[in-house]
Amino acid sequence: MYVLGIESTSHTFGVGIVEYDGKDRVRILSNVSDQYKPLSGGIHPREAAIHHTRIAPLILKKALKEASLSLREIDVYAIALGPGLGPCLRVGASIARFLASYYKKPLIPVNHAVAHIEIGKFINKFKDPVVLYVSGGNTLVAVQRKSRYRVLGETLDIPLGNMFDTFTREIGLAPPYVVDGKHKIDICAEWGSEFISLPYTVKGSDLSFSGLLTAALNLARKHIGNKEMIGNICLSVREIAFNMLVEVTERALVLTRKHEVLLVGGVASNRCLRTKLETMAKHHKSTYGGTPIEYAGDNGAMIAYTGLLAYIHGIAVKPEDAFIRQRWRVDEVDLPWLKNY
């Protein structure tokens, strides 16, 4: 059986195809995507949607070619219906609705955040991890329990990726935000060596990054052009933000007494965060699992894989009922495959 998944919640348009042998073997056959990159400023939802519309046929063809399949051979279509940016979501949803109804195949709704977690579990062969999900749009710690992911802690204001993007943009280092797979904050942190004290805000297991961002920006604006000082600020912003994340993950791990720590989402490819989290996990005799870069950022394969899980458990939606959901929390989705946790 072949499942084709479409991702278009934000800046990435992606198509992935997975193969299922009907028993226990799942293989990712292709995972193709293209990112909208703004020339200045952040993501403009309409511009991103226009990008997706233009690139969609090409990405779809490429994904099919890599998997050596034609559309007729696809058995199930999966679509990320949310959460995300409205105009972007509509592009993917329109394509998926069309394909499913034209070829008369089941259409599976997938929550984008759930997909990030499921692909991470799949790659690491994890059963029951404490999940740290960090990306441009999300920052949360979750565990699975009784058919749902339960959020133990999350950001109260802006997500971490968003904070790094805003900071580097406001001090004139971005866009582009990522160069050769490295975020500008990491490049900038290499210029620094001194640690500067900045606000550290952990409320129980929730996090807040806006105070850190404001304090860092105020300081940085006084030192524009001073490469070393800007480097020190980047280094400290990153150090503090990551320590906050590791601390809440550590609390969740100790509280729930689990033995796996999983890092997913776009920021999962950050080496500094990875190292810190791995050190923490080892310290608590737990197994650490990260996500390789092609599955860490937004991608179609994670939608296809999660769509497969949902399809096996009888979840599907009629194309005419497949509405997008800009707001759709990870802890609002009932997931039958988590029933026994």
């Binding site: 802690g153 129980g204 150090e239 609390r251 791990l253 989290l277 923490m280």
Partner: protein, 226 residues
């Protein structure tokens, strides 16, 4: 303290915990240890302030008659607190096997304790099932005050309730209603003056998370549509 006389109990998220004896009484020795993932300068500030906070607040709550272990010795330079040993178990470890009747009783007493704590303008900062002990004589004790603090802002009190709610949903979602319902009954008794304000704020906090649909409905009101 002679290390050989100490018995290792557990390593928590922040500290290592031992039991030992002082003048014939069983005590808990809690020491905040260095975190290998944390920058060292940073780490020392952390351990220092959190040890100090915990000691100060334990002492105050104990003197006010709340159910907390009595602090006995504080050595801030070693990031260490020696406190009374409470014979019992953490709620997180027993809640799955506890009957609904017993949960109702525990939750009510917890509500009273937390309400009394808030009425002293003190918040806990990490109120989860891992930081509540049910003693063998059936009473509820609060522990781990490293993130606690003094505040007159009801926001902090509402966050305590929010954290408790979260930890119930993650650990025993099927017992959430009975636990939290009874907790609120107790809380109203422990802190009648600000009860309604705290509850209202608690609802507000829930709407602050990412991608909360209700918030959109609230902002757009009548104009909201799917």
């Amino acid at each position: 303290m002679v290390k050989e006389l100490l018995e290792f109990v557990e390593e928590g998220a922040e500290a290592v915990v031992f039991t030992g004896y002082m003048l014939g009484n069983k005590v808990i020795v809690k020491q905040r240890i260095r975190k290998p993932y944390r920058d060292q300068r940073f780490d020392e500030i952390f351990r220092y302030t959190r040890t100090k906070t915990e000691a100060k607040i334990l002492a105050e709550l104990f003197l006010k008659g709340l159910n907390v272990p009595a602090p006995l010795i504080v050595d801030i330079d070693k990031y260490l607190i020696v406190m009374e040993y409470i014979e019992g178990r953490k709620l997180v470890d027993i809640i799955n096997e506890t009957s609904e009747n017993k949960i109702a009783k525990i939750a009510t007493e917890l509500g009273v304790q937390v309400g009394k704590m808030h009425s002293q303008n003190i918040y806990h900062g990490d109120l989860t099932l891992g930081n509540i002990i049910l003693s063998v004589d059936g009473h509820v004790y609060l522990i781990d005050f490293g993130l606690a603090g003094y505040s007159r802002d009801i926001e902090e009190y509402a966050i305590d309730l929010h954290l408790l709610r979260r930890s119930l949903m993650a650990i025993v979602p099927e017992k959430f209603e009975v636990f939290f319902g009874n907790f609120l009954l107790g809380y109203r008794n422990g802190y009648p003056q600000k009860y309604q304000e705290v509850i209202n704020r608690l609802e507000e906090i829930k709407l602050r998370g990412r991608y909360v649909e209700e918030r959109l409905k609230k902002i757009r009101g009548e104009r909201y549509s799917e």
